[in-house]
């Protein structure tokens, strides 16, 4: 036997790692990371006059200090928070409720309900925008007649057109469309809770509400947290619905302006307004930072406290 040699049979280079990772990285970096960085990079330049000059953080300073920009920026940000708040208060609780109901034991037709309720999530925003405007339009009277028929007619208003209600109404529509996602995710987690644990609480004397509140809810908190993050990210990137229904000027009086529409207007321009790649990039960078900070804060303050449970 030879002298033990600790470096014998050195591990071969992990070619498989390269093979597994490269295709995804290649496509992703080339067609997403690089273009995005390339664009975000523009935020440090001024491209207003055709050629670009390096201006450092000037664009950002303009964005938050110059009234012309900052008013729109803060307005969009505030609206975005409202938009997000409504989703958190409505979309996720409704999704939760539906998921809980869907997961009730021995429920017939649950697959059918699930598919049907998920349908709006699959539709293109063109349909969503059109049909809700039709439904809510005071001119065609669908909602109005419906409300009158249940005695609430005088509450009806041109919700989509009023400054006070347009954003809320659009949020509701968005909630309607996307409620399927939290529903599906939470439903799946609920299915994962072992029956035993629920049985145990029943034997312990808890009624269904108590079982939900004390047992199921804490166990699906991690999923709810994940759903919240996804909602946050999606809401702060939201754009299409507003754009389809209200256009890039997000009327009335910018009351439905979100970061997404603000970015679009800035970057691509609108009507007679010329797009500015550099200011647009600055808005986009800020959006990204806000989302990043939000996600970080969330991970730091909330996620850390939420425990995942193995069953």
């Amino acid at each position: 036997m030879t002298q033990p040699n600790h470096q014998d049979e050195k591990k071969p280079f992990p070619w498989h790692l390269v093979v597994f990772l490269t295709p995804a990285l290649l496509v992703y970096v080339t067609f997403s990371v690089y273009p995005l960085l390339d664009t975000l990079f523009l935020s440090l330049f001024d491209t207003q006059r055709g050629e670009s000059t390096f201006v450092g953080l000037q664009n950002f300073i303009t964005l938050v200090t110059d009234d012309n920009w900052s008013d729109a920026f803060w307005n969009a940000l505030l609206n975005n928070f409202k938009f997000f708040a409504i989703h958190m208060l409505l979309q996720n609780p409704i999704g939760l409720l539906l998921a809980v109901l869907l997961s009730s034991p021995k429920l017939r037709l649950s697959g059918t309900y699930r598919t049907l309720i998920f349908m709006p999530t699959m539709l293109s925003v063109v349909i969503i925008g059109f049909v809700w405007q039709l439904l809510l339009s005071p001119i065609w009277g669908i909602s109005e007649n419906f409300l009158y028929s249940i005695g609430l007619g005088h509450y009806f208003d041109a919700w989509l057109g009023k400054e006070g209600s347009a954003l809320i109404t659009l949020s509701f529509i968005s909630v309607w469309q996307f409620v399927g996602i939290p529903m599906m995710l939470i439903y799946a987690t609920l299915l994962n809770i072992p029956d035993d644990i629920v049985d145990a609480s029943v034997v312990d004397g808890a009624n269904p509400l108590q079982t939900f509140w004390y047992i199921k809810l804490p166990l699906i908190l991690p999923t709810i947290a994940m759903v919240s993050i996804l909602t946050f990210v999606a809401n702060f990137n939201a754009f299409e619905l507003i754009y389809a229904v209200k256009g890039a000027l997000a009327g009335p009086n910018f009351s439905t302006d979100l970061m997404g529409t603000f970015f679009y207007r800035t970057f691509f321009g609108f009507q007679l307004q010329q797009g500015s790649a550099s200011m647009g990039a600055a808005v986009a960078t800020l959006m990204f930072l806000i989302i990043l900070v939000g996600v970080m804060l969330f991970l730091f303050f909330v996620q850390r406290r939420i425990q995942r449970f193995q069953f």
């Binding site: 041109a158 057109g161 400054e163 797009g275």
Partner: protein, 394 residues
């Protein structure tokens, strides 16, 4: 010879191009294949910009008037057209929307203009024994009559899309207040302010429209307005001439048109005859020769007539005398003879800075009609916006 792609936001015209215009062109220029590839209008500017930057845009670019195209030209995406033969067929006013500020370079060929006015339902007018109003008083009297004596909505307009309020409201009736080109130039020179009486009065009149609009007009979209009118639920429609084509297809009643009413009978009337569509050549086109040929053909009488009759409501800007068959379109174009023409006052130069005047006009006009802003405040806000960056106004 070769292939030409036309970038356009006019998806409405796709059939007309493929069925009428391109075949006609091919009769005299058989070798050239022309494709009209429209982009949805809301995405046109941004999509075009991206495509130009990447070099994938079509050979011919349909031009929005003034700065949008001017910027493209300055960035080198559009060819200079100064030496295009047919350019002589156009008046300076017609060309003004697509020349550099110093008037030196022409970068798009004027194609069509649109005229504002009011379209009305003749049957309803007959039913209520109304006649076309000539003055503002008459106009409001007509509105009052419709409102009080019938179930029709007097005015078919909504504020949901905002642009109608600025375009078919403010720019429609405004020229009568600010005396057309004179007022527009004064604004450009800094001799007039938006807080001056003519402008405030324009908004004041707009504010007076509110009671005559339909229920829930705040959420009424442009297409809703069209539908209200074509379904005979509304009597008068503040219009752009392009609507003629739509209504021809959709309305099964007779409709007519009248120009924006003047203050008192006999006053000079002013109309907005806005240079709206031009067409230019992509500087990076591989087929410029053919593109030029097409443009040249587009300066011809043949094209003007084809286009004007295929798309009633879009009026050729060339000096050719052409026969327009559509009666309502004829009515519109006849105003050119009776009234002074002008273009929308926010389009030239004034929407160049931040804040953007055109965007502001949309916003404040909608608010004025909604009743959430006074005419004075609207004037104040737009004027302040202008003063921020436009030297002559400072």
């Amino acid at each position: 010879a070769g292939t030409l792609n036309i970038e356009s936001w006019r998806s409405d015209d796709a059939n007309i191009w493929s069925d009428v215009i391109i075949p006609a062109f091919n009769k005299s220029h058989p070798g050239t294949k022309v494709y009209f590839s429209p982009t949805p209008p809301t995405q046109y500017n941004s999509a075009l910009q991206a495509k130009l930057q990447a070099g994938t845009a079509g050979d011919l670019i349909t031009c929005r008037p003034f700065d949008t195209s001017l910027t493209l030209y300055k960035e080198g995406y559009l060819d200079k057209l100064n030496d295009l033969k047919g350019l002589g067929e156009f008046s300076d006013v017609a060309k003004s929307a697509w020349v550099t500020d110093d008037g030196q370079d022409q970068f798009c060929l004027p194609m069509a203009s649109v005229i504002h006015g009011f379209i009305y339902n003749k049957e309803i007018f007959k039913e209520l024994s109304l006649s076309e109003p000539k003055t503002r008083d008459e106009f409001f009297k007509v509105l009052d009559t419709i409102k009080s004596e019938s179930r029709y909505t007097p005015l078919a307009m909504g504020t949901a899309d905002q642009w109608e309020t600025a375009t078919m409201g403010f720019q429609n009736i405004g020229p009568n207040y600010w005396k057309g080109e004179a007022g527009r130039k004064a604004l450009l020179d800094g001799k007039a302010k938006l807080t001056d009486k003519p402008y405030v009065d324009t908004w004041k009149e707009l504010a007076k429209w509110k009671p005559y609009l339909g229920n829930g007009f705040e959420a009424q979209k442009y297409s809703d307005s069209q539908n209200l009118f074509t379904l005979s639920r509304s009597a008068i429609y503040p219009a752009g001439s392009w609507d003629i084509q739509t209504f021809n297809n959709q309305a099964d009643f007779e409709f007519g048109a009248f120009p924006p009413p003047v203050a008192k009978a006999g006053d000079t009337c002013y109309i907005s005859d806005h240079t709206d569509i031009g067409i230019g050549i992509n500087a990076n086109s591989k087929n410029k020769a053919a593109a030029r040929e097409l443009l040249n053909w587009m300066t011809s009488q043949e094209f003007a007539e084809l286009f004007a009759n295929a798309v009633p409501g879009f009026f050729p800007l060339s000096n050719h005398k052409i026969a327009i068959k559509d009666p309502v379109a004829q009515e519109f174009i006849s105003w050119r003879d009776d009234c002074e023409s002008t273009i929308r006052n926010s389009y030239q130069i004034l929407s160049r800075g931040t804040p953007n005047l055109e965007n502001q006009l949309w916003n404040v006009s909608a608010q004025v009609i909604n009743g959430t802003m006074t005419p004075e405040a609207a004037a104040q806000e737009t004027q302040e916006g202008l003063e921020q960056w436009y030297a002559p106004q400072q």
